[in-house]
Amino acid sequence: MRPRALAWLLLGPVAVWNLVFFMLPVAVMVGRSFDAHGLSLVHYRNLFTTGLYVSVMLTTFETSVLVTAGCLLLGYPVAYLLATSGPRARTVMLVLVLLPYWLDYIVRSYSWMVLLGRMGLVNRALIDLGVVPEPLPILYTRWSVTVGMIQILLPLTVLTLYSAMLRIDQGLLHAAAAHGASPSASFRRVFFPLSLPGVYGACLLTFVTSLGFYITPALLGGRKDTMISQLIVTVSTDMLDWSLASAVSVVLLVVSLLIVVVYNRFFSIDRLWGGSA
């Protein structure tokens, strides 16, 4: 068989699957968002003039930026250790990174409530140690949402960074050392620049995933920490206004796609998946 034909054959099933179960429903959703007894932009006008959706969208972006930054700061050192340590230590660390990933989102979000609540572990420890006289209001804040989401998304960030770092040629580091570079200099001038495509890719994946979060902000957030998915659920299941819900979803989808396109233009995320720069 010619390689081209083989490629199409291999791609076939997933293409059909995506077409039927993803592209088609998305098309229906887009169609619905323009429908008000005929073609109309009324739902979009609603969406942009009500104020509610725009402000919640901004909250969503703010939270996602915070979460992405947090994941990167905490995840980079872990990924670096993973990429540079021996096989035994690496296996142990990988299991530790993956273990929380296999736990359900809701269970993990509930665990944060146990930790951060008024009578939670953190507050009790602080009071018993005499650090604070009264429980601190840490649950139901932007902070608690961010912490919960970072913990949930961290494995994704770490694994993306790690897989990019694995492709860095260790020979280059040895060469740097052989030419007298200190470990910190070889990290700064060789390893870190080469790991940047991984950083860009990890940031993008983490950011876009956090845009769609629903359970964690609903359970750990206060009234001003609402994210756009929560509103989409309210509009579609409580108000049964599926056209408006579709319009909000389309805006979220378009914004996410725009981010990917613009991002790709500057950082060329193809490199993350092994493409050449």
């Binding site: 509930y110 939670g120 009234r223 579609s236 108000m239 049964l240």
Partner: protein
């Protein structure tokens, strides 16, 4: 979408194991945990197989919440129905009204009967989801007059109230919060508070806190501006706006808040079964009355059997069984003949409780819920 009730059930099971195994050695604990995990998937099979069902007989389908709700329905309605007709009830969980609406829009109604949650009942009737009841199959004389709120279109089922619930540890004596004005009074009753993230009945609470009595004639039509101005005053003191029943229970079981507006059945469950040191205030509770009803779906696959099912759900005894399980009150007034006082006084329709409550006027709400929900959500963000 995740299933709140299944998770709740899982957490309950885990909690039970942890309580039972306190003090056991590591090995014994692991064995016990393993047993619990092994039996968990069997639960569904077991509860399903207890009823001997004729496989060839037609069955009917309904939708509802999972967990304890399903168990209560099984005991109160499904078992008597199956015993009488030999037909099984297929139960789809969790309850999602949007799904029912989608079935209707697609012209493929898969459900025969439904008990839509609170305002969803008038909504379903308005959307033309129901079909007329066949009184030649349903024994009208077994029902009480108040159950005919919807005439030939539904039989009122259970009653629910959303009540003020307070922490008894904090206010053990007689000087405890007794009204929405007290809930609003953060100087007299300091402490974290929680309200439901839903525009109704928050507007009602706000007006009662502002001095309007719990009398539908005086409270409706709602003065929306005045209600939001009153809500403005309490907004900074609300720690959490809860969205689910299990969240309500978690908030009082972990004593996360001292004052909360929550569903009476959930409160009683937390207080009696899970040791939450809280107390329900029936005064000014938002009482749903006969709003919730069982209906037969238009386009139901098995309308004949559905009518037979309707002959069960409105009767006194099944409603008493349901109330005993979940503390949501009966609409059939004769059900109180079957209920011991200890249970009866925990129910929204128990006359002393109902008399001091505010009967919600959902006719006023029906066309206003959507715009007011948007206004409420916007207000939350400001």
């Amino acid at each position: 979408m995740w299933n709140d009730d299944e998770i709740e059930r899982g957490l309950h099971a885990l909690g039970a194991v942890l309580r039972e195994t306190r003090g056991l050695g590591r090995r014994a604990f692991l064995t016990r945990l393993g047993q619990a995990a092994a039996t968990a998937p069997l639960l569904g099979v077991l509860t399903g197989s207890v009823q001997r069902v004729d496989a060839d007989a037609p069955s009917i389908a309904t939708m509802g919440w999972g967990g304890a709700w399903k168990d209560a329905c099984q005991k109160a309605y499904f078992d008597p129905f199956t015993k009488k007709t030999g037909m099984a009830v297929k139960y789809v969980a969790p309850y999602e009204f949007a799904k029912v609406r989608a079935m209707q829009e697609a012209g493929r109604m898969e459900l025969d009967v439904l008990e839509p949650g609170s305002v969803d009942t008038p909504r379903a009737l308005k959307l033309g989801m129901a079909q007329k009841l066949d009184w030649s199959v349903i024994d009208k004389s077994a029902l009480t007059p108040n159950q005919f709120k919807y005439g030939d279109w539904g039989i009122s089922s259970i009653t629910l109230s959303t009540c003020l619930v307070y922490n008894k540890k904090k206010w053990p004596g007689d000087n405890h919060p007794k009204s929405w004005a007290d809930f609003w009074d953060v100087k007299k009753f300091p402490g974290p508070r929680a309200l439901q993230r839903r525009v109704y009945p928050n507007l009602e609470y706000a007006l009662m806190a502002d001095g309007i009595p719990a009398d539908p004639k005086k409270l409706y039509p709602i003065d929306v501006d005045r209600a939001f101005r009153s809500l403005d005053r309490i907004k900074p003191h609300i720690t959490v706006w809860h969205t689910t029943g299990s969240q309500q229970q978690q908030l009082i079981q972990d004593q996360e808040v001292d004052l909360i507006a929550m569903w009476n059945g959930r409160a009683t469950d937390s207080i009696t079964n899970n040791g939450a040191p809280y107390q329900i205030v029936w005064n000014q509770a938002a009482y749903n009355g006969e709003i919730e009803a069982w209906i037969v779906m238009k386009g139901a696959p098995n309308p004949k059997a559905a009518m037979k099912f309707m002959d069960v759900v409105g009767r006194a005894e099944p409603q008493a069984t349901f109330a005993r399980a979940l503390f949501y009150g009966p609409t059939n007034q004769k059900a109180y003949d079957f209920l011991e006082k200890k249970v009866a006084q925990e129910l929204p329709s128990y006359p002393p409780n109902a008399q001091v409550s505010l009967l919600m006027n959902y006719d006023w709400w029906l066309d206003r819920i959507d715009p007011l929900t948007v206004q409420f959500e916007k207000w939350l963000q400001s």
